[in-house]
């Protein structure tokens, strides 16, 4: 079943034609990766899906209902961890639940039960600046998950990490996904990352961002994947 749909999204930002008639969909429990060069409007698309800005034309449909320009429905995580430095790790993670109306006590209790699966056991009372880069991103992901467990928008969440940590995080994200089965829309400019994580890949062109290719890569063999990689690189003129 289709979880999320973007229909004919166009957007001009500060006089710059950024998104050109983008249509894409995300099925339930699917992990879809958007690949494209830097500055191709991928993040703008996430701003639109999360309701932060309105598209010039087009609609966002979630669970069959129009959610265009409405915030508070999907979990949105960016490249920066954006943890509040003045709150403990646990409070940072529990905060979305408080925003949704739960008491701090309930929210903390709920958040605590996830810490070990997110590799944050024993760090509840630490401040974000005391954590490593990978842990911060895991905390940010847990916060995103607790806000909206069914749809996660992940905007280059591992791009700022070193190669070893990034690889660990990618593997960990896949195992997490098998456990919780959210629907994930994931942005990256790293084709390898896309092929490793995705069920399906959308390829974006440089500005104005346009869908120039779609690849179903679930259950592909390594050979087929490397063929995919070549095709994607061709599409991106690499």
């Amino acid at each position: 079943m289709t979880k999320l749909e973007a229909l004919n999204i166009c957007k001009t930002l500060d006089g710059l034609y950024t998104l050109d008639n983008i249509s894409l969909y995300l099925k339930e429990q699917e992990l879809v990766v958007i690949v494209g060069p830097s500055g191709c409007g991928k993040s703008t698309l996430f701003h639109i899906i999360s309701g932060l800005i309105n598209p010039d034309t087009g609609r966002i449909i979630i669970d069959g209902r129009d959610h265009t320009g409405q915030t508070g429905r999907v979990g949105y995580m960016q490249q920066k961890d954006l943890l509040l430095p003045f709150r403990t790790v646990l409070d940072n993670i529990a905060l979305p639940l408080v925003l949704k109306g739960e008491s701090w006590q309930e929210a903390r209790k709920k958040a605590k039960s996830y810490l070990s699966q997110f590799g944050l056991e024993g760090f509840a009372d630490y401040y974000p600046r005391q954590l490593s880069g990978g842990m911060k991103q895991r905390a940010a992901l847990l916060r995103t998950y607790l806000f909206a467990s069914d749809i996660l928008l992940l905007d280059e969440p591992f791009a700022a990490l070193d190669a070893i940590t990034r690889h660990k995080m990618q593997k960990w994200l896949l195992s997490l996904r098998n456990q919780y089965n959210p629907s994930i829309l994931f942005i990256t400019h790293d084709i390898e990352e896309a092929l490793l994580l995705a069920d399906r890949i959308y390829v974006f062109s440089p500005l104005p961002g346009r869908v120039v290719g779609e690849f179903a890569v679930k259950n592909l063999t390594d050979e087929e994947k490397s063929l995919c990689k070549k095709q994607i690189m061709q599409l991106l003129n690499m």
């Binding site: 309701g51 932060l52 915030t71 508070g72 430095p85 925003l99 401040y127 490593s132 880069g133």
Partner: protein, 256 residues
């Protein structure tokens, strides 16, 4: 090694200070400078001890003015911070006025205030408020405005209202900057109260100094200066201490 280097760093300013005092005392003695022109540090210390009871009553008056003004300035700065944050238009309308207001010479205002409000405590408190208000407000607003827009977007994407964002994100993020403002204002507060008293008062360290200056008791004027320095230093330390306890996250060192 490191420990002894640390001690040396801590001792260095104290030793410099003592050397300067020694130089001063020696100079006054060698050149036989009249005490009503420049007394030596020993004479000043002597005056400080001798006049302690009188100095204490004047100190109490100055401290009352400085602290009242300081706290009123804090409250006003917080109110203005909240108001200006709520509307872009108000921010545009008021912020430049705030900057321009700082070009008005304080001395003139202080004189006008004595004309308008008399010789009592009110005009001094107003001066302290005017002086302290600016650094606190500017720092608070800088802090509020320097919050990462992505951070605000994140909270907006989670459906948080403007007020919630102010309360949960902007204000706490601005606290370190707010405390820098407090630290500046704390030193200014004592000075501002003294200036106010200097231009017309019935008590306070500024008043004490004008009296003593007129009778060429320079040692006692300098004794009052020492107290002013100590008070300012003390206030700054209190602000530091408050910051230390109120912002525990700010003192923890980065690990990664």
């Amino acid at each position: 090694m490191r420990k002894s280097a640390n001690t040396a760093h801590k001792l260095a300013p104290i030793i410099t200070f003592l050397l300067l005092l020694l130089l001063w005392e020696a100079g006054v003695r060698v050149y036989q400078i009249k005490p009503w022109i420049l007394p030596g540090p020993l004479a000043v210390a002597n005056a400080l001890v001798k006049e302690t009871p009188l100095l204490l009553t004047h100190t109490a008056a100055t401290l009352l003015e400085a602290l009242s003004g300081f706290f009123i300035a804090i409250v006003l700065a917080l109110l203005l911070g909240i108001i200006l944050n709520s509307s872009q238009l108000l921010h545009k309308a008021i912020y430049p006025l705030l900057i321009i207001s700082q070009t008005i010479p304080l001395i003139v205002l202080a004189v006008l205030f004595t004309i308008w409000f008399g010789w009592g405590i009110t005009p001094k408190i107003i001066i302290v408020v005017l002086v302290c208000f600016f650094p606190i407000t500017i720092n608070l607003m800088e802090g509020i405005n320097s919050v990462d827009p992505d951070q605000i977007n994140l909270f907006r994407s989670m459906g948080a209202s403007n007020f919630t964002i102010f309360r949960m994100v902007k204000f706490p993020s601005a606290l370190p900057a707010f405390f820098s403002g407090l630290r500046i204002a704390a030193t200014y507060s004592i000075m501002a109260a003294v200036i106010g008293e200097w231009l017309g008062a019935q008590k306070g360290l500024g008043y004490f100094m004008t009296l003593k200056q007129k009778s060429f008791a320079i040692d006692e004027v300098l004794a009052a200066v020492i107290i002013i320095c100590l008070l300012s230093f003390l206030l700054v330390k209190i602000v530091d201490l408050a910051e230390y306890f109120l912002l525990p996250w700010n003192r923890i060192e980065e690990i990664s």
